[in-house]
């Protein structure tokens, strides 16, 4: 029996484990991957202060800290089911069944697919896969690639690919259809891109953020956006073009691009081929909350947080006894915010285990999440704060309703 079990060894789960252990709890961390770090592993970039953020080193540091404090780890262990039986959470993995009264879900995020004709050809991968190949395994995904889907993550990964000596021939949109939505809309994409401005030395994006504030200006921006695109870190960004097909005999040989109007419709006769030996699909991230859904958590759809998120409090509790959430399962944000949330969850679990006088520490930790968010280098949604208050409101309403009943 453990005082707590944590599913997910990303920044949220690792930080929670460290916090629990510091408070004298006996915790175990389960992760389906073979090493600690989660999505932190793939991150490698220069921060505004000139220091490098090296996800592999950061992961090792957190992991070592946890191990030194006596935290146990089980890697290669996927959790396939959880249920609440006789006041205990029962956790089913392939080989064993574990029990605890405090369970933290820190399962992170997953990538949304964007189906494009030809996307089943070998050489097509998600942009996250290209990031892991390049930064974790140090294997080039190819020599020259096209990224379909323009968002904060794909812009950041395009830059990382380039640093690794891989040519990015174009960053472009998918063609609009029933299976794509905002990611195929030039205007929406423009809107979200303005928020990478602080990452970009490019005058275009910097200019953009000044002039594109109003909705009207954004529409004009997409309409007047130069047909041949602009360059960010020397990578052509094409908001006026969309990929209508990925072609190749046995593997990717290139993509067919066509001009689109500001509504996202294809202008006939404008098709052209671009050679490439790999293609990345970037449909954005959504919270990976399957286990919370199975457990019976109420959910709420918050676009700003990336999709359906389990209702939770600022203390990281869910509406279910002894079940907590932290990190990207609560909304898509950067690794530092995830870690800060993990710290809060760890303290809440310690308090629930009877460790006293943690109330002030928890308040401080919640404040720290907010400050970290305000200073975040990567913001996945421009209105993240708004999303956070929405879920807080839903939580309050839920609590009031429960009290009335």
């Amino acid at each position: 029996m453990h005082n707590g079990i944590i599913i997910g060894a990303g920044p949220a789960g690792l930080t929670a484990a460290v916090t629990c252990a510091e408070n004298g709890l006996d915790v175990i961390v389960l992760d389906e991957y073979m090493r600690a770090g989660g999505r932190l592993l793939g991150q490698l970039y220069e921060q505004p202060d000139g220091k490098w953020w090296n996800g592999i080193k950061e992961s090792e540091r957190l992991f070592q800290q946890a191990v030194d404090l006596g935290v146990q780890f089980r890697f290669g262990t996927a959790v396939s089911n959880i249920e609440y039986l006789d006041d205990m959470w029962v956790i089913y993995t392939e080989k064993e069944v574990l029990q605890t009264s405090n369970l933290l879900l820190a399962t992170g995020a997953a990538e949304s697919p964007v189906p494009v004709p030809g996307w089943t050809l070998p050489g097509v991968m998600s942009v996250g896969a290209a990031q892991v190949m390049t930064n974790v395994h140090r294997v080039k995904p190819g020599e020259r690639g096209v990224i379909i889907g323009i968002n904060v993550l794909s812009a950041a990964i395009a830059m990382e690919l380039q640093l690794a000596g891989v040519e990015v021939a174009s960053l472009t949109l998918p063609r609009m259809s029933e299976v794509t939505d905002v990611e195929a809309h030039p205007k929406e994409v423009m809107d979200s891109l303005l928020h990478v401005s602080h990452m970009a030395p490019s005058p275009f994006v910097k200019l953009g953020s000044k002039f594109m504030k109003g909705d009207f200006m954004k529409k004009m921006g997409a309409a007047f956006y130069p047909k041949n695109g602009v360059k960010m870190w020397d990578i052509p960004i094409q908001l006026r073009k969309a990929v209508i097909e990925i072609y190749g005999e046995n593997q990717v040989e290139g993509v067919t691009l066509a001009t689109i109007n500001s509504k996202g419709d294809v202008v006939p006769g404008t098709e052209e081929n671009i050679a490439a030996d790999f293609v990345c699909i970037a449909g954005g991230l959504y919270p990976l909350a399957e286990l919370a859904a199975i457990a019976g958590c109420p959910f709420y759809l918050v676009e700003e947080l990336g999709g359906y998120v389990p209702l939770h409090s600022e203390e990281m509790e869910t509406t279910l006894d002894g079940l907590y959430v932290a990190g990207n399962i609560t909304g898509i944000e950067g690794a530092k915010v995830a870690a800060a949330q993990g710290h809060v969850a760890g303290l809440s679990i310690a308090r629930n285990n009877g460790i006293r006088s943690l109330d002030y520490k928890i308040m401080d930790a919640i404040q720290h999440v907010k400050t970290t968010r305000d200073h975040a280098y990567i913001q996945f949604h421009p209105q993240i704060q708004k999303g956070r208050s929405k879920i807080q409101d839903q939580w309050n309403t839920y609590q009031r309703n429960v009290q009335e009943v």
Partner: protein, 90 residues
């Protein structure tokens, strides 16, 4: 390649046209669309295609339900071998 031949669910090889036709014919919910076509019921458990299947199913409905996840999650959320299910390892 035509947009219609585009595969949406790789595990079960269900195309865009299959899904669209089924949706139009039966005017079905995300769950019914899944059961009729097997999209989302393959080895990956729908991890690759679920949001696309969902989008096709919900493109008729005007307003998304904010507090109901369209396609239900069911255990096991990861593949489990028969040997493990059958309790061969004790």
């Amino acid at each position: 390649m035509q947009k219609n031949n585009m595969i949406i669910c790789r595990c079960e090889e269900v195309t865009y046209a299959d899904l669209k036709k089924t949706k139009e014919k039966y005017n079905c919910t995300a769950r019914e669309l899944k059961l009729r076509t097997r999209a989302g019921m393959g080895y990956c458990g729908g991890r690759t295609c679920r949001s696309a299947v969902d989008k096709i199913a919900s493109s008729l409905e005007k307003q998304k339900e904010k507090d109901i996840i369209p396609l239900k999650y069911q255990p096991p959320v990861r593949p489990v071998s028969f040997a493990d299910l059958g309790g061969e390892h004790k």
